[in-house]
Symmetry: C2
Subunit: 229 residues, 2 copies
DNA sequence: GTTATCAATATGTCTATACATAATGACGTC
DNA sequence: GACGTCATTATGTATAGACATATTGATAAC
């Protein structure tokens, strides 16, 4: 069987797993053997198998060989867009209002996550994002003041989110999702009852030596996060 | 500057982006130039840049060259484990109870998602997963009976989830997350108040020609889905 | 000015070869 | 049997060279 292109090899391997030609846990032929079968160089097989290993379909170990993953850790990739892009992708008009802009001491749960950065005061920005004029999401953000230029940018013009994306390149962080009941503030701003189920996104962004920002995003009811496996 | 290994090259490129040596939107040197600078073969640079392109950090086009992504689409990868593994990863004991096992006509919202597979009756399995004996998640699952062997496996022994993972290799599907209020059934089973905020996961798994299964997972309060950026 | 054509170019991929590296499994010793 | 030693082996990575392919930008024709 002659195959052309590493993607063709990858697809053929996937096919053989799907039709249970190679079953979970079993070992598959070596790269050299597959290269001979497919009539290509080992490097080409290698590229295909590495791709499948990254996707969690195969498990590879030197000398031990390549086996079909026993419990294929299904992975989902989510794009985490700027809220504005998220709204506009729905064909709606995105606007936002800055509800508060202060210097405050870090609340305890925020301090716990931001660590050293939260020792002094933080810049607190509260923003309401609107889609077609209706509340879309409420954002509470705490910023490490050390990352802001002097004077600070005017967050009434550009959203904090967009300023950060444009000015902080390639930061690492954590992200978490949960369902929570709306507290009084969120309920008021989003126009829902206190305790209504709210989809909450929390994101911590870390810089080289300290936390840059912590965001808590409360989505209006009906929000779904969706992706393909 | 001599670099050894494609990962070192990848990290150096990331560093230069981070310190704004190369800014978002700008074009970076060609593979050949970088290979000369780093004292390695073009193939090595290629591997590093392809990796960054997949991560969304770079955008590459033939002839046009490689540029730093203007709006680095932040992507998060979530591992979607078998519930048992999820519970055991927390150091708790995982058990489950099958609450219902029936053949039923597909409810309208389920039929809408499963399409052709939902024309006849579906196998409905309702399961409660427990962590250390306490309710962890409620699972409502509709199965395309065509995928089950005859006789059907005993889902009191292995969970449906695990049977599928072991017997349906490499299926594709969609997944969605939302916050919803607990309905009467979920509230009763999880031991929470009706309307309490519940983290809901919905997953549709598709086979070669028809939907295999649709699952609706309602997590007990306090559940968080977490990952690193 | 507009459009068609074409050479130049950067990335995409493949090849063959080589050596590095991590496990394994066999062997020998105690 | 337990343990350490070591050759073997499959994957990991690098190399130089080659050709494919998509785009660009310049040139020519209209």
């Amino acid at each position: 069987m002659i195959l052309q292109g590493w993607q063709a090899i990858r697809d053929e391997v996937k096919r053989r797993i799907r039709v249970r030609d190679w079953t979970p846990g079993s070992i598959i032929p070596t790269e050299t053997e597959l290269a001979a079968e497919f009539g290509c160089a080992r490097g080409t097989v290698n590229r295909a198998l590495i791709d499948l290993a990254r996707a969690g379909v195969l498990e590879r170990r030197r000398k031990a060989g390549t086996r079909v993953a026993l419990l294929p850790v299904r992975q989902a990739r989510f794009a985490i867009p700027v809220i504005r892009a998220d709204i506009e992708a729905r064909g709606q008009v995105a606007t936002h209002q800055v509800l508060a802009l202060d210097r405050v001491p870090a609340p305890v749960p925020v301090a716990a996550r931001m660590g050293r950065a939260a020792e002094g005061h933080l810049v607190y920005v509260e923003t309401l994002y609107l889609a077609d004029g209706r509340p879309f999401a409420h954002e509470a953000r705490w910023l490490n003041p050390a990352v802001l230029p002097n004077p600070a940018p005017d967050f009434a013009d550009i959203s904090v989110n967009e300023w950060l994306v444009a000015n902080i390149a390639l930061a690492e962080g954590d992200i978490a999702f949960a369902a929570e009941g709306a507290d009084a503030r969120v309920a008021q701003v989003l126009g829902v009852a206190v305790g209504a189920p709210i989809f909450v996104t929390e994101r911590l962004t870390r810089g080289a030596d300290a936390a840059i920002t912590f965001v808590r995003l409360s989505h209006a009811p009906g929000y779904r996060m969706q992706t393909a496996l």
